[in-house]
Every structure is written in structure tokens, then in C-alpha cells.
Amino acid sequence: MAATSRLHIPHPPARPGQRADFSYLKLSPAGAVARPDPRARADQMTNVSTSLVRVLDDDGKAVGPWDPHLDAADLQVGLRHMLTTRIYDDRMQRAQRQGKISFYIKSTGEEAVSIAATMALRPGDMLFPSYRTQGLQIARGRNLVDLMCQCLSNSRDMCKGRQMPIFYHWKDGKIFSVSGNLTTQVPQAAGWAMAAAIKGEDHIAAAWTGEGSTAEADFHHAMTFAAVYRAPVLINVVNNQWAISTFQGFAGGEQQTFAARGPGYGLPGIRVDGNDFLAVYAVTQWAAERARNGAGATLIEHVTYRAGAHSTSDDPSRYRPKDEWKEFPLGDPVERLKHHLIVLGAWSDDRHRALEQELDTLVTESWKEAISYGTMTEGPSLHPDTLFEDVFREMPEHLRRQRDELRKIRG
């Protein structure tokens, strides 16, 4: 037979109607992966990029060298943030279905990736979010009313009605603006981190992007700049297995882990159980310590699963098995942390239910307050003049003229 080249088209292990199959996911037992010295050379720790750092075992116990030994009180805070995020997401999804907001993106199943990481960083560290990391805002203590007002584009919207729902930012909370152009924030985070190093500060930057978005050139730019300048930046790749309808193999995940790209650039790459709150916390803490000590950037692959649709405009039943999340071997980050706290004797089903009720009330009350500042259809609303503001610091003559033209037409 004559030799011919072949075009390989990656296929997910299961499509709708087929049995979910995660046999492709290489797992390590909890506690099995060694914890390298945070100041060691990247090429001395390549094992952490292909194994899986896990702390919580199946019995809900924290085991192994990565256990961050957090107080139960801190874990309870983490659980509260994750539950707040989940309940907030459910409420906003409902608001979209009721036609109150135009669009929404849930982060269900991925809460630990945002929240544990944020809690492991300092308030002065700058966070560069992706569109599914509302947990960053919640972990930094953002008022839910502010987030809801953004989604409503109302008179108290932080973005003055210029962005679709979920494109938040928070200057005072040191959270950058979400962009619809994917991965653009990652090389920006590298630049932010370079500036911190130039200024001799010990603040670091952390960015989040999806595994699908690592295919963008910006990811390569970020890795190159982070490596070349040893910039104090954490590059978090959230591998939730799905980029809308294409599975992680379409971003290059079939032959190699995403974390394994780190060593190719001279950076540590750590693959972590993204649904294990303690493991995400520990790996972030390790990478932050490394960055603050001048040893540079780390690539972190969080293995998780996108439990919901990509967005309210998506229907995943058309491209993946309905029950896939239930079969995901790393479970649910909320349930796992809850179980761990119960095992520690620091939590109970009753307390959990009470917390859920408290947060339900908080979200409901916040929503009532948010809509009092207006909705897409009912006032109070922003003045249309504002649409010409903030294009430049000072409004130039041509925009003043266009503003006047609009005023005249509106009468």
C-alpha cells in the first residue's frame, strides 16, 4: 500500500444517546503527586504537568503533600462563596428565561477554579477573568446587586449599559474587564505582571482562560512573555472539557495535557483536580509563592467539567450525552468540599440547608434591589447622552456633534 498522509479529525468519546466515557482522563490518586520546591527549575518538575494534583480523597479526607491545612472557618467561607455563586447563577439563568436579561453564562461545576484560587491570592493581586469566572467577584466580596445591575444594563450598571450581561469589571477589587475576544486578557496579565516587577512591587497577576481558547495566538504570546521576563503571573487554563460544541481534543488535548505546554516554554505546568477546592488552593498558593520570589510564572491546568450549557444561547443536548456531568470522575466541587467539612466535624446537612436558604434569600433580596435601579424595559435608565462618553477621556468635536444630532432626533 502506498503511504499517504491522513487528516485526523478529533472525536469526543461520546455523543448524544451514547454512554458518557471519561476513560481518556488520566487521574492520580489523592495525595500521590509530590510537591516540588516552589523555587525549583521548571525542568525539574515535569511530572506535575501530566499527573493530577489532588488533596481530597474519596472518603472526604485531605491527604498528601499538597494539603494546604486550611482552618475549617476558611473552608466554610469557601463553601459559602461557591454556593453563593451557584445560587446566583441559577437565579440569573432564570431571569434570562423570564426575559429580564438578554443573556447569561453559568459557571456551575467550575466554582472551585475561581474561588479557591482567589482565596489563595492577596487582595492586591490583579485578576484577569474569563467569562465563566464570576466566582472571582464573589470571592473578593462584590455586592451581588452590582453584578445584577450590570446584567440588567440599568441606571447603576458599572458598564453604563455598554456590555452584554456578565462582562463585569471591578477596579477597586482589582478585577480586570471580561472580554468577548477570548484569551486577550492572558498576555495583558503578563504585561501587568511585568509592570509590577518593573516597579518592584510584590503584587502578582492571575489570568483565567478556557482550554479551547488556548488555541488562540494570544495564549502563545502570554506564555512567551511570561517565560522570557519571568513575569509574576499565574496562567490558569480551565479545562472544562467543552468549548461550546467542540471537546478538548479540538484545542490539542488529545495527545498531551494542557499543563504539559508549560515545560515547553520553560514554565512549570501543573495539572490539578479543578473540582478539589483544597488542591486548587494549594497549587495557586504554590505558584503565587514562586512568582513572589522572582522565579516567575506558572501554567495551571484545572481539570473540571462545564456542567451547564455554554451560555443561555446554547443547547448541549445536541452534541454531548445528557448525563455526562453525573459520570464525570471528579464530581461536584460543592459536594466534595461539603463532604470534607462534614468529615472534619465542621459542617452538617442541616447547616448546609440553612446556608442555602440564607443565600437564596440574599439573592432574592439583591434581585429586588437591583431591579429597583431599572431593567432593560423599565426605568430608571441611563441617559442616552452617555453612549458618547468614555470613547476618549475628553469628548472630541465629532462626538459632540453626533450627540447633538441624537438629542435633536429624540426631541
Binding site: 458599572m158 495566538a217 512573555f225 468614555d390
Partner: protein, 338 residues
């Protein structure tokens, strides 16, 4: 005052700003140790150190993105893109990020980045070292767009751009780096020391963004142009005995329509000239706006002179370049029109 060519004037602008403001940094391919392929950053790294004048990887998208991150973190980066032809990998970071950060965050976040971009042809650069893509950037909402035509303006505009809190795309007509060029490649090159705008103050001064300059007063025809063609138009008017009023736009965004309209209302005749391609070029915007502002004063249709709508050819550079012959013909046509 000193005699400077445009390279020295740009170098002096960065030198002044690096000395005055510790948040200013210069970055780009080959700008550091080597001093830039056009020598615009010569000596700056030696003077200000590797943390202020930074060599970067060959990654225009990465350079712009990193500059944005630095800008958000309190620095004032001046990023060099080695040739305008290579800016496109950074286009998304400029159009979607740099230009819109202030707007999308309602003024909370912004990045005061200046992007220096050597542009234009007439240097035997073929289609990969000759482009003038200013219209692509002028079309973006949220970036200012500038192109100087002489050393004095180059320094004053670059200082104004660096001090501006809005992002500025700063195009440098590289054919003018070493001397004014009247469009005739067969004449011996002349240095900037022969030109009054080659006199440049050593210290700090600004040429404000958004103001056009009347470089020659006249009564018969207004020529609205910028960059290299300012000098070509002057020579063409002289050669054809046309009493032209020549306006150097200098700043495309914001555009000083007042200065332009005042002139066209006076002369009643206008040609618009640039080196960039004609179709949807910046001249189309100029022509449309002048028509809106000056229709009842116009005595002839506005004429456009531009690069042909082809890539910039290597062998037929001077057939492509909108030189004195084409500008002269347009001047005579517009002057003669009833």
C-alpha cells in the same frame, strides 16, 4: 534649538519623556540594546536601563497586549512596531482591547499606550515594508491616529501622544526619517538641516493632537494631505505655478475639520492626497466631510490622489507612488474646472 532629522527628533521625544516621567517605558523588537532598526531608540537603553527600554520577542500581538497590561498597572508604555506592515497580529489587541477598554469599563480602566509605527513607502520596501494602514486605525473608535511630516512636529506630537491618557497610533513616514522628500527619487537626497522644521528644541514641548497645520498659504486650491505627501504637494504646486494652500492634517483622529473647512471655503477648490490606497482610504472620509462642510463654497469636484488600489509593488514603486506628476495634474484639473 538643534538641527535634528526625524529619527533624532523622535529619539529626543522619548529621551525627554523617559527623563521626566518614571512611568514611561519604551518597548519593542530591537529597540533596546541595538537602538532600533531605524535607530529611533539609539542610546536610550544605555541611559535608562533594561527595565525602561525593553527588547521584546517578535510578537506584535504580545507587544500590544503586554503594553495594555502595563498601562492598566500605571505605566505609560511607548511600543514600537517595527514596520506598519507587521502590525496586524496586534490588530485585535488594538481594535478590541486598547481602543475600547475605557468605554467598556465606563472610564474605570484605561491604558495610555502610544504605538509607534514606521509606515509608508518610497524606500524599495515592496509590499511588506511600505504600507500606510492609517485608515484601518482611524476607523476604530477609541484610538487617536497621528502622522507627522517633519522633525519639529514629530517630537512635539510624540510627546503629546505619550502624555495623552488615550491610546495613540503614531505613524512615522519612514521616507522622511532622514530628510524632506519631494517625490523625485532621482534627485540627490537633501537633509533636514535644509528645512526650517529641522530646527527642534532640545527640551520638552508639545504639538497638540487634533490640530492641522497650514504649511503654505495660498488662494487657488486647497491641498489636504499628511506625511510624505506634504512635501510632494509643495513641490508639485511650485512646479505647476499653482497658488495652493497646503494643509498638513497631522492628526487624523481627532480631525481638525475647522482648519480644513476654513481653507476650502476660501479657495473653493480642493484636492485630497495620501500615499495609502484610494478605495475607502482616509481621503474618502476627508472628501466626504469637506463636501458636507463646504458644499456651497465648492467650485469644482474634490479630487483624490492616492496610491493605486494594489499592493505596494517593488519594481514599480515610482509608478505606484502618488508623485508630483499626479498631484500636479490634479491641481491643474481642479483649478481649471469651471
Amino acid at each position: 534649538m538643534a538641527q535634528m532629522n526625524m529619527v533624532q527628533a523622535l529619539n529626543s521625544a522619548m529621551d525627554v519623556m523617559l527623563a521626566r516621567d518614571s512611568t514611561v517605558i519604551v518597548m519593542g523588537q530591537d529597540v533596546g540594546y541595538f537602538g532600533g532598526v531605524f535607530r529611533c531608540t539609539d542610546g536610550l537603553q544605555r541611559k535608562y536601563g533594561e527595565h525602561r527600554v525593553i527588547d521584546t520577542p517578535i510578537a506584535e500581538g504580545g507587544i500590544i497586549a503586554a503594553a495594555i497590561g502595563m498601562g492598566v498597572n500605571g505605566l505609560r508604555p511607548v511600543a514600537e512596531i517595527q514596520f506598519a506592515d507587521y502590525i496586524y497580529p496586534g490588530f485585535d489587541q488594538i481594535a478590541s482591547e486598547l481602543a475600547r477598554l475605557r468605554y467598556r469599563t465606563a472610564g474605570d480602566l484605561y491604558a495610555p499606550v502610544t504605538v509607534r509605527v514606521p509606515a509608508g513607502g518610497g524606500i524599495r520596501g515592496g509590499q511588506t515594508h511600505s504600507q500606510s494602514p492609517e485608515a484601518l486605525f482611524a476607523h476604530i473608535c477609541g484610538v487617536k491616529v497621528v502622522m507627522p511630516s517633519n522633525p519639529y512636529d514629530a517630537k512635539g506630537l510624540l510627546i503629546a501622544a505619550i502624555e495623552d491618557d488615550d491610546p495613540v497610533i503614531f505613524f512615522e513616514p519612514k521616507r522622511l526619517y532622514n530628510g524632506p522628500f519631494d517625490g523625485d527619487p532621482n534627485k540627490p537626497a537633501i537633509p533636514w538641516s535644509t528645512h526650517p522644521k529641522g530646527e527642534v528644541p532640545d527640551g520638552h514641548y508639545r504639538v497638540p493632537l487634533g490640530r492641522a497645520d497650514v504649511v503654505r498659504a495660498g488662494n487657488e486650491v486647497t491641498v489636504v494631505t499628511y506625511g510624505t505627501l506634504v512635501h510632494v504637494a509643495e513641490a508639485a504646486a511650485k512646479a505647476n505655478n499653482v497658488d495652493a494652500e497646503i494643509i498638513d492634517v497631522r492628526s487624523m483622529v481627532p480631525l481638525d475639520i475647522e482648519t480644513i473647512a476654513t481653507s476650502v471655503r476660501k479657495t473653493g477648490r480642493c484636492i485630497v492626497a495620501h500615499e495609502a490606497t484610494r478605495f475607502v482610504g482616509f481621503g474618502a472620509e476627508l472628501s466626504a466631510t469637506i463636501q458636507e462642510e463646504c458644499f456651497w463654497s465648492l467650485e469644482a469636484p474634490i479630487e483624490r490622489v492616492a496610491g493605486w488600489d494594489t499592493p505596494y509593488p517593488h519594481a514599480f514603486e515610482w509608478e505606484y507612488f502618488p508623485g508630483q506628476a499626479r498631484i500636479g495634474a490634479a491641481l491643474k484639473k481642479v483649478r481649471a474646472a469651471a
